[in-house]
């Protein structure tokens, strides 16, 4: 029903108030234009068909998705018109659905008859047109300009090299001004042109019936087939419009739910399995529109001339513009020259991790997602030129564009709860520390398809064994060549991280184990690596915080809190705004900043707790904001608190979870906070507004514990969580 409504609504305006046609031929010009257009159209038909097909596939996928969603939500089938898979070879499927109104049909028949008569009278066959076209072009003084443009446009399609692309893009600009001025000339005809394209649609419908009976001219057939494709694409776009508006409310709530499906389907290329993100569709649509606009303006300036001509024939210059989307553009679109095939992966990579913009780390990854989705060639559609994406109205579509994390990998080889996580600084490599006495290294790019589910499996590439008891924490050095782990055995082990492409069954290599940092007398609960000084900080249940030289196995350089005046440290972090400071939280509820060189306690953050130790005011984690002088603490009493490092004052306090908050991580740009809790959920927070922007359930409970650690990859789009259920999960 929905789509039917769409079609009708867009047809009616074109029909109303159309005057009868009075052909007043300026024959010479008309012939010339028709001939020229034919030549051009041939070249473009294939391209257009391709685009139409893509849109149809997308449309179909969306329908499927809506049906699936509807069925899941309401338990009934959604009646949304035809659910036929798109027919890639013809447009018949959609044509048959359209039911134009009988009244207008009559008018159209008459009009068409007139036009046909005229064309037959003219008596132009293909060959004559072809022969004459060149002469006419020369006469019009258009030929050099137009043909040259054509040649250039074809280049990248033929050769497809990137250098040529760039060259082409550069050449594109002068061309554009040419065509723009050309368009300027025909500006007054825009309205008529817009109307014409609408009119064509109507003609087309009849044309299908009539062409069988009447042997209309080839010219005419061409016009029809072309217009029908245009109509289809426009129709598809309209439908997207409709879908987006109607689904806007749902979009937000769906985002979290969709996540689980993606895991299953991200490998799947079948259209019915697509799980289409609204934001992506909006974007695709916008960009496709732009591409189309660009195409009409630049690549096919002559189309408007044809429209002009036909408008003259019909004498309809006084009609208002009915289709703003067909209005010739004012903007270049070299993007359409990127013909989908060129190194898409590279482009996606670039878009995913722009070096300068912080926001796009989170927000600019839809392209990557699309790729993951298996949209395949469709992804090419979105990789439009940068100008397009920049002018795209971000403010209005902020929600649609925002990065939504979705589960990607589940790491399943540990035998007991995972306590700690560390990402490699550059590579997609993760190290997990578990209560099963081991650490495991995972290469997230080395995946094997799982047997049953569609999700990907990652097997550990190395297992680090040396701890005598549960391993509680792990950090990686800034080079990624070493890692350090702390366990209940009171030892800190230093490891040489092996090559991520190692054979997992290769024999044990003793050089991996660098040795143990001995000093703590009880479980080591927290570790942090200082890249600036190549130091290691550890906190232990023995009550002390120790500073080590990370480069050699040697006794601790400094010991803090050895009198345990603040209780037992539970977590420690470096203060990012001042490399000589560290911040430590205690099970007493206190948080203090120490100077690492002088061993002095610089500041104790306003905690509001009395000194009596009780587990309810326990702080589980403290982290320092990567760019601001702010410390963030995770509390057993479900709170997350923000402190000013300079004054020690509490900036903000919030009940963040339904149960104890266990872990915190801030994204490398300092815009988002991630928190994990024993309530089994991970939450993402906008640090500016302190609002939760995404929540997902990630792990199950073992006893009363669920999530032990969360982490952002320092440079790539991964987050990971560690669970008491012996699983680690990676989200993209």
């Amino acid at each position: 029903g929905a789509q039917g409504w769409c079609r009708e609504s867009r047809q009616i305006p074109g029909i109303v108030g159309r005057p009868p046609r009075r052909p007043q031929p300026e024959r010479g010009a008309a012939r010339a234009q028709i001939a020229f257009l034919q030549g051009e159209r041939k070249g473009q038909e294939n391209l257009k068909k391709d685009l139409v097909r893509r849109i149809k596939m997308l449309e179909y996928a969306l329908k499927q998705e809506r049906a699936k969603y509807h069925k899941l939500k309401y338990g009934t089938e959604l009646n949304q018109g035809d659910m036929k898979p798109p027919n890639y070879d013809s447009d018949e499927g959609n044509e048959t659905e359209i039911q134009p109104q009988p009244n207008s049909q009559l008018i159209w028949k008459q009009g068409r008859q007139l036009l046909r008569q005229y064309l037959q009278e003219v008596g132009y066959t293909d060959t004559i047109l072809d022969v004459k076209s060149k002469r006419v072009r020369a006469l019009l003084g258009l030929s050099s300009d137009a043909s040259e443009k054509e040649n250039r446009n074809q280049e990248p399609m033929v050769n497809g090299t990137e250098s040529q692309m760039k060259e082409n893009a550069m050449i594109g600009k002068p061309d554009l001004t040419d065509s723009a001025s050309l368009l300027e000339t025909f500006k007054f005809l825009e309205n008529a042109a817009a109307d014409f394209s609408d009119e064509e649609d109507e003609e087309d419908i009849e044309g299908r019936e009539k062409t069988i009976i009447d042997t209309s001219t080839i010219v005419r057939k061409r016009v029809l087939s072309d217009s029908s494709e245009d109509r289809d694409t426009e129709e598809a776009l309209k439908e997207f419009d409709f879908l987006v508006t109607s689904d806007e409310g749902d979009g937000e709530s769906r985002s979290s739910g969709d996540g689980t499906d993606w895991e299953k389907e991200d490998q799947c290329l079948m259209p019915e399995a697509w799980n289409v993100d609204q934001g992506v569709i909006t974007k695709l649509k916008e960009q496709y529109k732009k591409e189309r606009k660009g195409k009409k303006g630049v690549k096919r300036p002559n189309r408007s001339k044809l429209q002009d001509m036909l408008a003259n024939l019909r004498d309809v210059d006084d009609l208002p513009s009915l289709q703003p989307s067909v209005t010739p553009p004012s903007r270049p679109s070299s993007s359409r020259l990127i013909e989908h095939e060129i190194n898409r992966t590279d482009e996606v990579e670039a878009l995913t991790f722009p070096p300068s913009s912080g926001k796009s780390f989170i927000m600019g990854t839809d392209e990557a997602l699309e790729n993951e989705l298996g949209l395949g060639e469709l992804a090419g559609l979105t990789v439009a030129n940068e100008a397009d994406s920049l002018t795209y109205d971000i403010a209005n579509n902020k929600d649609a564009l925002r990065k939504t994390w979705n589960p990607k990998f589940t790491l399943r080889s540990h035998f007991d709860g995972i306590r700690g996580l560390a990402f490699h600084p550059v590579e997609p490599v993760l190290i997990t520390a578990s209560e099963d006495h081991t650490l495991k290294m995972w290469n997230l790019q080395k995946t094997a398809p799982a047997k049953k589910s569609a999700s990907l499996d990652v097997e550990p590439i190395y297992t680090f064994r040396a701890h005598n008891g549960p391993v509680l924490c792990v950090v990686m050095s800034s080079s990624g060549e070493q890692c350090y782990s702390g366990g209940t055995d009171g030892l800190i082990h230093g490891w040489n991280t092996t090559n991520p492409n190692i054979d997992p069954y290769d024999s044990y290599d003793p050089s991996v184990l660098r040795g143990a940092f001995v000093g703590h007398t009880d479980a080591v609960w927290g570790l942090v690596y200082s890249a600036a000084h190549q130091r290691l900080l550890s906190c232990s249940a023995d009550g002390t915080i120790r500073l080590w030289k990370a480069t050699e196995i040697a006794p601790a350089l400094n010991v803090f809190n050895d009198n345990q005046e603040l209780g037992i440290p539970s977590s420690v972090d470096l203060v990012s705004s001042d490399p000589s400071l560290m911040v430590a939280s205690f099970n007493s509820g206190h948080t203090s900043i120490f100077n690492m060189e002088t061993r002095q306690r610089v500041l104790t953050l306003e905690s509001g707790v009395d000194s009596t130790i009780s587990s309810s005011c326990q702080i589980n984690r403290v982290i320092s904001h990567p760019t601001l002088p702010i410390s963030i603490t995770a509390h057993e009493d479900r709170h997350i608190k923000f402190y000013d490092n300079n004054t020690g004052k509490l900036i903000h306090s919030m009940v963040a979870h339904l149960d104890a908050v266990t872990s915190l991580a801030v994204d490398p740009n300092g815009l988002y906070l991630m928190s994990g809790s024993h309530d089994c959920s991970i939450r993402l927070w906008n640090l500016e507004s302190k609002t939760c922007i995404q929540e997902f359930t990630a792990h199950r409970k073992k006893f009363d514990e669920s999530i032990h650690d969360v982490a952002f990859h320092p440079s790539k789009c991964y987050i990971a969580s560690a669970g008491a259920d012996a699983l680690a999960k990676v989200f993209v």
Binding site: K452, E459, P470, A523, S570, K701
Partner: protein, 218 residues
């Protein structure tokens, strides 16, 4: 780190917990364990209570699916073998123990590696097998997966036999701490996962002599 009475007990090892206080919470009956990891919790709880009480550890709670029970026990064996592996690591190097042998007659070959490699391959493989099959439902387990448990048991047992015949001191030390090989032997016998002939570590004889003086063959 037992919680104050009256309030609900939260079984957590919070950051800062001392090693000796790890898991030091009151026992929970199997019926009260409402989490999906109840079987693992229950097994670990019994082991922590008294690791020498093998009969209690191997006694499944009423109504427990046997496949899951066997599977979870094997996971626990793999977990605890990490402890033995760490100890062996100091002594069992490729240059000293190039072949995975228990006695001179026993040379184990791995299908994926043409030459005999050290103990770790088997260990890594059985660990990976157990890990990869962790996806399986905790409530029930497929027959085909249960069938594979036997081969995992044989692989695991090679580690015990290797340690017993070549690193006896480590083996005895670890066995005194954990009774792991005793428990494993009883486990495979109870569920008929290995034939008696393959159990070459003389634990069964010892057990038999100690408990019942009936069966003499082992």
């Amino acid at each position: 780190m037992v919680m104050a009475e009256g309030t609900a007990v939260l079984r957590r090892n919070r950051p800062g917990t001392k090693a000796q206080d790890f898991y030091s919470w009151p026992d929970e009956s199997f019926e009260e364990m409402d989490s999906t990891l109840a079987v693992q919790q229950y097994i670990q709880q019994n082991i922590r209570a008294d690791c020498s009480n093998i009969d209690k550890i191997l006694e499944p709670p009423e109504g427990q699916d046997e496949g899951v029970w066997k599977y979870e026990h094997l996971r626990q064996f793999c977990l605890e073998l990490n402890g033995l592996a760490v100890k062996l690591q100091s002594e069992c190097h490729p240059d000293t123990c190039t072949q995975m042998t228990a006695t001179e007659q026993w040379i184990f070959l791995c299908a994926a590696h043409k030459t005999p490699k050290e103990v770790w391959i088997y260990f890594v493989k059985s660990c990976n097998f157990m890990g990869q099959h962790y996806r399986l439902s905790k409530v029930s387990i497929k027959e085909s997966s249960v069938a594979k448990l036997g081969s995992v048991c044989r692989r695991i047992y090679r580690i015990f036999s290797h340690a017993y015949f070549h690193h006896r001191q480590i083996f005895d030390e670890y066995e005194n701490e954990t009774f792991l090989c005793h428990r494993f032997t009883k486990f495979v016998m109870k569920y008929n996962l290995m034939s008696k002939d393959n159990l070459i570590v003389p634990i069964l004889e010892e057990e038999v002599q100690n408990s019942v003086a009936g069966e003499s063959e082992a």
